[in-house]
Amino acid sequence: MAPTYRDGDLLLVIRGLSPRVGRAAVVRLPPDAAGRPRPLSVKRVTRRSADEPRRWWVDSDNAAEGVSSAHVGTLTSDDVVAVVVARVRRG
């Protein structure tokens, strides 16, 4: 999520809020192609799925490196576990 966030940043997030387009969020990503689990991640919710209202497209601010919905498809509202409110401390 560079340049927005970097290693060691402390973020204040609220669990259970519904995803907001444009906001960064803590999301659960599906396992990778080899079946290995991906860690809990910070992504930006960039749009609602055109087909299903409770699914969300997520992007990385660091498009060159980050995993996004282009790789993993849209996420359900349940997989968007928290919405980022603020950065409390720079890493």
């Binding site: 910070v42 660091n62 995993v67 790789h71 993993v72 498809g73």
Partner: protein
């Protein structure tokens, strides 16, 4: 009150595949093949033709490589469900870049067919990006 707050580690990105994909890469190599075929048609020099042959084979391999990366890394199961023609498209396109296609032959028609297949893949790619 403190128990309301909990610090959890989260990652910002987690995969090495860089996430940058574009069928334009394959298209540029295929354009190069087409141009090589045209240049050879106008040039009887045997050394030039030999160099052209080698470069054309390399470019054809690059087309296959770039298409394979899209096929295996970019496109995911939901894409193949939505676009059932994708597997066949990739198979035909990579064959057109192979020994029976632009790698082995000096046939401008084959190069055009290859460009056509890459364009079809690019259209699907653009739709998945817009989705």
């Amino acid at each position: 009150m403190l128990s309301l707050f909990r610090i959890t580690d989260v990652s910002a990105h987690c995969d090495l595949p860089c996430g940058v994909y574009d069928p334009a890469q394959a298209r540029i190599e295929a354009e190069s093949i087409k141009a090589i075929i045209a240049k050879v048609a106008d040039n009887p020099d045997p050394d030039f033709r030999m160099r052209a042959t080698i470069i054309k084979e390399q470019r054809s391999e690059l087309v296959k490589h770039h298409l394979w990366v899209l096929w295996t890394d970019y496109f995911k199961a939901p894409h193949f469900e939505k676009y059932p023609q994708l597997h066949t498209l990739f198979n035909e396109a990579t064959k057109l870049a192979g020994a029976a296609g632009t790698k082995g032959e000096f046939d401008a028609g084959r190069a055009d067919e290859l460009l056509g297949k890459i364009d079809e893949i690019a259209r699907v790619f653009a739709e998945t990006k817009a989705a």
